[in-house]
């Protein structure tokens, strides 16, 4: 498998605090990579550097490099908006816009310049289908997105992210606010989506990482402790700290 995202010797500081220490990772294309580790270990921070959402936090400083499709995303000639189109994101809390279901999905394409109604209809349908939500909402696309269940809202957010045709989908603990059945649906959806997209997910739930991911990265205190095929990492971890964590001895 080919690496789509190549992280090399990455240090990240919030003011004086070093949140990431010499992180080096290759994230393969069209697969699911899970970041696990206890709270505050840097896994969400790393995820948010991949689409430069950390730019908003004042005092953030970065050393080292992150390349997506071979291009350093922190170099000065990179357009952040183009990057974020390529690297979509789904958040912890479902955060649909307070608009109709249709408008939520059509939002990105519209603001990126697609005005043709028929083209938008197609994008909305294909995105909702890709997010396995179409059959549940196709008869009331004009209703408010705030009126559907949390699990549906989260799938709507996935559809919204897919509508701008990203290559990568970042999922920041995207099931932690959902009930088990909704969680399962999102996990199945992720399995489907990895055929077309590169997925990076942060999860607190080790079982989830074990169930859905192809690769797992274990973080501790801003460092990558172990990075391996998911099966290998969970069945035969090399580092004793990894073993302690996955067997529930801390974290």
């Amino acid at each position: 498998m080919q690496a789509l995202i190549d992280i090399d010797q990455l240090d990240l500081y919030y003011g004086d605090f070093q949140a990431l220490k010499k992180v080096s990772l290759d994230i393969p294309e069209k697969a699911i990579t899970a970041f696990i580790g206890p709270s505050g270990c840097g896994k969400s921070t790393l995820l948010r550097t991949l689409n430069r959402m950390n730019d908003m936090i004042p005092g953030t400083r970065i050393e080292g490099s992150i390349k997506v499709s071979g291009k350093d995303i922190y170099s000065s000639d990179v357009d952040v908006e183009t990057l974020r189109k390529k690297v979509g994101m789904v958040f912890q809390q479902p955060n649909p816009f307070p608009k109709s279901i249709y408008d939520n999905v059509a939002y990105g394409p519209r603001l990126h310049g697609i005005a043709d109604k028929q083209r938008l209809d197609e994008i909305v349908e294909s995105s909702l289908r890709a997010a396995v939500l179409w059959d549940e909402v196709k008869d009331h696309l004009k209703r408010s997105a705030l009126g559907i269940s949390g699990g549906q809202q989260q799938r709507l957010c996935i559809a919204r992210a897919l509508a701008v045709e990203p290559d990568v989908l970042l999922m920041d603990e995207s099931t932690s606010a959902l009930d088990p059945i909704s969680t399962l649906k999102i996990e199945e959806l992720a399995q489907e989506l990895k055929k077309r997209y590169t997925i990076v997910m942060v999860t607190h739930n080790m079982h989830q990482a074990a169930r859905v991911s192809n690769q797992t990265v274990f973080f501790l205190n801003g460092e990558v402790i172990e990075y391996a095929e998911t099966e290998k990492l969970f069945s035969n971890p090399v580092d004793s700290r990894t073993e302690d964590y996955i067997s529930g001895r801390f974290g």
Partner: protein, 295 residues
């Protein structure tokens, strides 16, 4: 004294205080309305005032108040929105923004008579706009602007961070995110605040005495050319507003029915401000429903 008794006493005390406040407010409103409402008629609302004889109306004053309000809002809203967006989204938090915020606070607590005198010295005399609606609108802008900036800033700050991040994560630029995601969510707050600010403009008198003036030319309500000196739409003519008119006839009115006219005009003023408040609430809710597609 045990806890239960203390709780009862505290509850009784708080309820009494609330009742006193409501009584004062209701008494005040009732007094003004009961004295004034009887005098309000179509004729009273449309005819020009009389200096010596009885039977004058408040037509031009009412028009002036409304027109001044529109002028003020045309100046205030773009400036306030711009500054509010800057303060909330662009300015780096630090000494600079703290200082701006302090200035805004001070500006909004300025006594309006001081703003009026400032307007007389700077806008009317130095800039040479004379006693005019335009001078009045600029003076009112001075203390309406801080309110508008604060309202916009608060409105944008109340937008959940998740919404902002969702926009940015879709690859929208900062401005597009502000314009198309944050502002629509913030608009009920901004709109309600704006209309409440408008109510304040409507009732203002002290700042207008020396800027918009205390007299109106004979207005010709058939001449709508904004450049003609007798046109009601000319922003560079002097204009006495309703609140100023009340002050004037109360202090130096010569007409035999001056107290009734003052009472009637006061009632009109109060009713209009109440209407503003109710429209603000209703409109805020309506726009919120409209933008968020909630039923």
């Amino acid at each position: 004294m045990n806890a239960k008794t203390a709780d009862k006493i505290a509850t009784a005390l708080i309820v009494t205080i609330a009742a006193i406040i409501i009584l004062i407010l209701a008494g005040l409103l009732g007094y003004i309305l009961i004295r004034g409402v009887g005098h309000i008629s179509f004729d009273f609302l449309t005819s020009p005032p009389e200096t010596i004889r009885a039977g004058g109306g408040i037509g031009p004053q009412l028009f002036n108040s409304l027109f001044l309000l529109v002028l003020t809002m045309i100046i205030t809203i773009p400036l306030g929105l711009g500054a509010g967006i800057y303060m909330s989204e662009y300015a780096k938090p630090g000494r600079g923004t703290d200082f701006i915020r302090l200035v805004v606070e001070v500006l909004s607590s300025f006594p309006s008579i001081v703003v009026g005198l400032f307007g007389l010295l700077v806008i009317v005399n130095l800039f040479g706009f004379g006693f005019s609606l335009f001078s009045g609108a600029l003076a009112l802008t001075v203390f309406n602007l801080p309110l508008m900036v604060r309202i916009t800033e608060q409105g944008l700050k109340s937008v959940p961070r998740e919404q902002k991040e969702a926009g940015l994560a879709l690859g929208l630029s900062k401005w597009k995110t502000i314009r198309s995601i944050m502002l629509p969510i913030a608009i009920p707050v901004i709109l309600t605040g704006t209309i409440l600010a408008a109510g304040r403009v409507f009732g203002e008198a002290a700042a207008l005495l020396f800027t918009a003036g205390m007299s109106s030319p004979r207005l010709d309500f058939s001449d709508w050319n904004p450049l003609s000196p007798f046109s009601p739409l000319n922003p560079f003519r002097p204009a006495e507003t309703l609140a100023v008119h009340i002050w004037k006839i109360n202090s130096e009115g010569l007409a035999p029915d001056a107290p009734e006219i003052a009472a009637g005009a006061s009632a009109v003023l109060i009713i209009t401000v109440l209407l503003f408040n109710m429209i603000a609430r209703w409109f805020g809710r309506y726009v919120h429903r409209k933008f968020t597609a909630t039923k």
